[in-house]
């Protein structure tokens, strides 16, 4: 490594810290999912606070943040989960611009609300671009820092910063809500016709809890009543379980229910296909919120029409436009 290149050294990696950005597209048919920040609103807000490119690479820090040593003076911003940044032990607020001097160490407290904090650094993290993105795809050892979550001793290269920004903060109204209870809007479809109608109605009306197996691949839910399926002969090639289908693609956001038991909402590192039926999908506008749900948070599904999903999509676009106006 060149002597003068700016970098951050990972002292402690935290629970699961990865380099993420807007993600990649066009490779899902080969089993390579989009990856990228699970909460795209908070990720973009962190960059916009610093005057970075909106899609510059950041660190996504799940539940317990990392400890990082800076060898260059930079500005940082932490958004998303409420995870207090400490500069040489001194606490600073989230959702604002903080100065870190060369030689200082940045660490974090536990997340007290939300599940994923986004750490943006002026100039962004300059890891190599892989298939159009710097996002980490761990299952495929692709992108990010050597295709994996951070480990102690990793050097993270930084890009060239733009001019320092005056200290500004993200208005409360533009922050991702971090409540432990959250409504997710769902459009019914895919293989919903294979489930007894009253069983599926109950499925969407019951509260569900986020299980401990909730990660970037998918959010497993627990606590509800298992589905009852409509009787049929298993189609050739599908498998014998009533929840089996002839292996098909899985939409990002789709809700699969293996054996009718514990639903899984697929997210940005999704497995791209498989043999379990899906009963619908979370609308695109509500995907950001999922990444901020810690284990044991409560989810209420609400069925919406496609028209309502498109209205929500416009509202999310308007939110992003207001974020860009702070830059």
């Amino acid at each position: 490594m060149a002597e003068h290149s700016a970098s951050i050294e990972v002292v402690k990696p935290g629970l699961s810290t990865t380099v993420q950005d807007h993600g990649r597209s066009g490779q899902y048919h080969l089993g390579i999912p989009p990856s990228g920040a699970m909460d795209q609103i908070s990720f973009r807000a962190a960059n916009l606070l610093l005057g970075n490119d909106e899609t510059a690479a950041v660190l996504e820090c799940a539940l317990m943040g990392p400890e990082l040593r800076f060898n260059d003076s930079r500005q940082i911003a932490v958004t998303g989960a409420e995870m207090t940044p400490l500069v040489d032990g001194t606490p600073h607020p989230t959702n604002t611009v903080v100065d870190v001097e060369a030689g200082q160490t940045l660490s974090f407290g536990f997340a007290t609300a939300g599940a994923r904090a986004y750490l943006a650094v002026s100039g962004g993290f300059d890891v190599p671009v892989a298939l159009g993105s710097r996002a980490t795809y761990g299952l495929g050892s692709l992108g990010g820092h050597h295709g994996r979550a951070l480990q102690p001793g990793d050097p993270l290269p930084l890009g060239d910063p733009r001019a320092a920004v005056s200290h500004r903060a993200l208005p409360e109204a533009l922050r991702m809500p971090l409540a432990k209870e959250r409504e997710l809007r769902v459009v019914r479809g895919l293989y919903d016709h294979r489930v007894q109608p009253d069983s599926l109605d109950g499925f969407f009306q019951e509260p569900w809890k986020v299980a401990s197996e909730a990660d970037r691949v998918g959010y497993r839910l627990k606590g509800g009543t298992p589905l009852r399926f409509i009787d049929r002969e298993p189609p050739f090639g599908a498998g014998d379980d009533p929840s089996n289908i002839t292996d098909a693609c899985y939409p990002i956001g789709s809700i699969q229910v293996p054996s009718g038991q514990e639903p899984i909402i697929l997210h940005r590192d999704a497995v791209s296909g498989g043999g379990y039926l899906m009963v619908g999908a979370v609308i695109s506008a509500d995907m950001d919120a999922i990444g901020q749900l810690p284990p044991n948070a409560t989810i209420h599904f609400r069925e919406v029409t496609l028209e309502e999903a498109l209205v929500a999509r416009q509202e999310r676009s308007a939110w992003l436009e207001r974020l860009r106006a702070i830059g």
Binding site: S25, G26, T246, S272, S284, R313
Partner: protein, 290 residues
């Protein structure tokens, strides 16, 4: 039967060509998605063919669902049986069946298996009516396979064997999925073979392992320098059983970056296969000997 159109919320159109696996459904999925890709329609972000269905991801701000659906229906109506031919390639994949690494793994996860007293190969041979494991391996490697879908994880091919329906092998997946599978394991679930491209979780029965890399994000493998993923839907695979000395020798050649898989261009015609399902695959295998 007409395809079933449905949505994955506001960004995905999902089309189930058939509930059950068939070559007709597979070819419809492949040919419709190929034609859709060729049209390069603004607003489409992903086109994913599967075994008997396909999915299109789109941006509804650019391309309204009804417009996309109309285009896909139009393409599907135009895909006739006479067009069911593919200019593709046949690839020979060496396989060490009954290898020590999948054996060690399957023993570790025996409590998750239908038959804890045997191996995956013994179980699959028995429930498919084969006298012994060698006869089963002969059936698995005797006839080529279509790569009908790529996915699950990066570059994993799902494959469907070119034999009549009554000769097709079927096995259930593990009762509970494993948390570990050796890299490049040759697996089996439902009516599909697969090759695990990376180490990780899996639910397919494990039959063997290939020394041939099929995914290389580091781009060190000579035939994976341009594209990190080897397989594409429509590829034809011929498994070749190898013994341990040959496995070791191929692996050394892989590590020296000298191994190149044997491939040959072929044209596959669905009608020719259906009129002679026993004889036609042999003409494709011929191409590898050329």
């Amino acid at each position: 039967m007409a395809s079933r159109y449905t949505v994955g919320a506001d960004e995905h159109l999902f089309v189930e060509v058939s509930e059950e696996m068939s070559l007709d459904a597979y070819f419809t999925s492949l040919l419709v998605t190929q034609e859709l890709a060729e049209r390069k329609i603004p607003g489409i972000t992903e086109i994913c063919p599967a075994n008997a269905s396909f999915q299109v991801r789109f941006d509804p701000d650019i391309l309204p669902l009804e417009q996309l659906r109309g285009t896909v229906e139009e393409i599907e109506a135009g895909v006739g049986r006479q067009e069911a031919t593919l200019d593709t390639r046949i690839v020979e994949v060496p396989v060490l069946y009954n290898d020590p690494w999948t054996y060690e793994t399957l023993m570790r996860f025996r409590d998750r298996h239908q038959d804890p007293s045997g191996t995956d190969l013994e179980y699959a041979a028995r429930i498919n009516g084969y006298d012994d494991v060698p006869a089963f391996i002969e059936a698995h490697s005797g006839t080529p396979w279509f790569v009908s879908m790529v996915g699950f994880v990066a570059g994993l091919p799902f494959m469907y064997q070119m034999v009549e329906r009554d000769r097709q092998i079927q096995v259930p997946k593990y009762v509970r999925p494993r948390t570990d599978t050796p890299k490049q394991t040759v697996g089996y679930g439902g009516a599909f073979s697969c090759i695990y491209s990376v180490r990780g979780a899996g639910g397919y029965q494990m039959f063997g392992v290939t020394p041939m890399p099929i995914y290389d994000p580091a781009a060190e493998t000579p035939y994976l320098k341009e594209e990190m993923i080897f397989f594409r839907p429509g590829d034809v695979v011929q498994f070749r059983p190898i013994d341990r000395p040959e496995y070791d020798s191929i692996l050394e050649s892989v590590e020296r970056h000298e191994f190149i898989p044997r491939t040959a261009p072929i044209t596959f015609a669905l009608k020719d296969f259906e009129s002679d399902p026993a004889g036609y695959p042999a003409t494709l295998q011929e191409a590898l000997r050329g």
